[in-house]
């Protein structure tokens, strides 16, 4: 079973890489900027899914970590003329360290303190972005942020930036997948179902929760810094409570505890509004509706939907092909 799964996942990764490589050549140019944003949200959702889907801890302020890094890197490279890679590194570190400062005390407590803590934190950070005008330029936003340049190369076209973002997303996907299939991934899932049972097996629950929270903030930080050096302009609106709910919706819609789901949810919810311009003003309502409907009708999200569809297809195919009729009568195709 394990070696099968190993081969299956390698094939999945290869397919993922191929889709990433081919997409910009197959789609109209207009879609490149949409897909860049989708890639940033995929990074955000993967990080939040490690926290929410695997470890069962809820963050309602993830946009704040996204924004902290975007602003930090934006300010350092614009006002203080740091090189862009140094600004990005500083932004990511700031998100991670801030998460540690919030997570370590809150995650020692049992209950939903993290959800409440991150909700409050998100609101505060949003206010700071608006009010610290000297540093952030306030509600009108920070302009003139340089595009990403590294190793003497400036990534000035959307196509180049697309590969930076999705290349990063791919690497972060592989790292998250490797984590999930390790001792740490099992510990996180154990914590999700029973903190008592996890702890009496030697799992340091508070430490693992703090670690995965910081890691998810680091993912958000990477997305934030890449965002700042893509749009070259940041304003508080991108990092509001709305944005936090948007990321939560992507995770839930995609499928809790599924990294593929996180990517699918992010891409779907980024591309969909592009098609449905009309929903722009009601987006928070639409996200709420998607959350409720997913939890009610497809608790495993798009990942579960895909799994079900695959199961249906496989058994339909097997029914038609007499050679494998025996296999179809086994339990495999009838997974609930």
């Amino acid at each position: 079973m394990s070696s099968n799964r190993g081969k299956g996942s390698a094939a999945g990764l290869a397919a993922f890489a191929a889709i990433i490589a081919a997409a910009p050549f197959l789609l109209p140019d207009y879609y490149q900027s949409v897909l860049i944003v989708a890639g940033l949200f995929a990074i955000l959702s993967m990080g939040l899914n490690l926290l929410m889907g695997y470890a069962g801890q809820i963050s309602l302020g993830h946009a704040a970590f996204y924004g902290l890094s975007a602003y930090a890197s934006g300010i350092l490279t614009t006002t203080f003329h740091w090189p862009v890679p140094a600004g990005i590194a500083a932004g990511v570190v700031l998100s991670g360290v801030t998460a540690a400062l919030i997570g370590i005390p809150t995650l020692k407590l049992k209950g939903h303190y993290l959800a409440m803590g991150t909700l409050g934190f998100g609101v505060i950070v949003y206010i700071v972005f608006n009010e610290a005008v000297g540093l952030t330029a306030g509600p009108s936003g920070l302009t003139g942020i340089p595009r990403l340049s590294a190793f003497g190369k400036t990534f000035s076209t959307d196509r180049e930036y697309y590969f930076v973002v999705w290349g990063t997303a791919f690497v972060l996907f592989v790292l998250a997948r490797n984590l999930v299939r390790s001792r740490m991934g099992r510990a996180l899932r154990a914590i999700h179902t029973s903190e008592s049972a996890a702890s009496v097996l030697g799992i340091d629950v508070a430490r693992y929760k703090a670690f995965v929270f910081v890691l998810s903030a680091v993912y958000a930080g990477i997305a934030g810094a890449l965002y700042a050096h893509f749009v070259t302009f940041v304003s508080p609106g991108s990092f509001s409570f709305h944005a936090s709910i948007q990321i939560v919706t992507m995770v839930v819609l995609g499928g809790m505890a599924s990294l593929w789901g996180a990517v699918a949810g992010a891409v779907f919810l980024t591309v969909l509004p592009e098609w449905l311009r009309a929903i722009e003003d009601y987006d928070i309502l639409v996200y709420g509706a998607i959350l409720v409907l997913t939890m009610r009708f497809l608790p495993g999200g798009l990942a579960e939907g895909a799994e079900r569809a695959r199961g249906t297809l496989v058994s339909a195919f097997r029914r038609k092909s007499p050679a494998s009729a025996a296999a179809a009568s086994g339990a495999e195709g009838r997974k609930p």
Partner: protein, 257 residues
């Protein structure tokens, strides 16, 4: 072990929930390599005592010593590290995992790779994962669970879930195993298999403390019995001694019979 410090000892353990005193000045000790039964009516405080020992509850007073070290005040994961692992009366299996993954998770402390190994998938990562799965399979067959190990754990029948919890605990390589009502919900055949399993666990060098209501099982496999009643130790001795103790007969065995 005669003359020296006992393998495990609890002294003066007191635990209160608001006005309720769940444990009052409880003391008992366990010798290495024995099966020690903890009996008493429902609500006597047996599970609370396990919770105190494993660090899930912090006692209001008392001390716990294990293998020459004090465990008092340690968090649960540190208690596990010292070699004490338990099962739960109300099953706490990981329902979001397969049967095999549950047991592999039990081996958490024995995993010899760090974050770099799993993030970068070094040979050590693959070697350890293979070892973990092999050992988990061995523990599953040790407890007699030969069902499909890739099945979601929640799909196992109740009796098998109890065995799964024991396999998961054994995967942690405990020196002291605490079983909280392992026979509850098992049929006669399963219960006798359990008695035989506990003997094989002891034969592996693991000391067992077991909370149990099934008197036949208790009398059959225990070396020593402690009786709890209303949070206090009522009697302590060999199964035969406890069975003859008039206070026990009045308080517990009498009403059960």
């Amino acid at each position: 072990m005669s003359g020296s410090e006992p393998f495990f000892a609890g002294e003066g353990i007191t635990l209160r929930f608001g006005g309720v005193t769940a444990l009052r000045d409880v003391a008992f000790s366990v010798s290495k390599g024995t099966v020690h039964a903890m009996i008493g009516p429902n609500g006597a405080g047996k599970t609370s005592l396990f919770n105190v020992i494993t660090g899930l509850y912090e006692p209001d007073a008392g001390a716990i010593r294990f293998s020459g070290k004090s465990l008092t005040g340690l968090p649960p994961h540190a208690v596990a590290q010292s070699g004490i692992v338990r099962t739960f009366q109300n099953l706490e299996i990981f329902t979001n995992m397969s049967v095999l993954e549950n047991v592999v998770t039990g081996a958490h402390l024995s995993v010899k790779y760090g974050p770099l190994d799993f993030f970068l998938r070094t040979p050590r990562y693959f070697r350890e994962e293979r070892r973990l799965r092999e050992e988990a399979r061995a523990e599953l067959s040790f407890v007699g669970l030969d069902a499909d190990v890739s099945l979601p754990a929640a799909q196992l029948p109740f009796g098998s879930q109890r065995m799964l919890e024991i396999a998961r605990a054994l995967a942690a390589h405990p020196r002291l195993l605490l079983l909280d009502e392992p026979a509850a919900g098992l049929n006669i055949r399963e219960t006798s298999a359990l008695g035989e399993l506990i003997r094989r666990i002891v034969a592996r060098g693991v000391t067992v403390v077991m909370v149990e209501h099934d008197m036949a099982l208790v009398m059959d496999i225990s070396d020593r019995v402690t009786v709890l009643n209303y949070g206090e130790v009522l009697a302590d001795g060999t199964p035969a001694e406890v069975q003859r103790n008039p206070a026990v007969v009045a308080a517990y065995l009498g009403e059960e019979a």
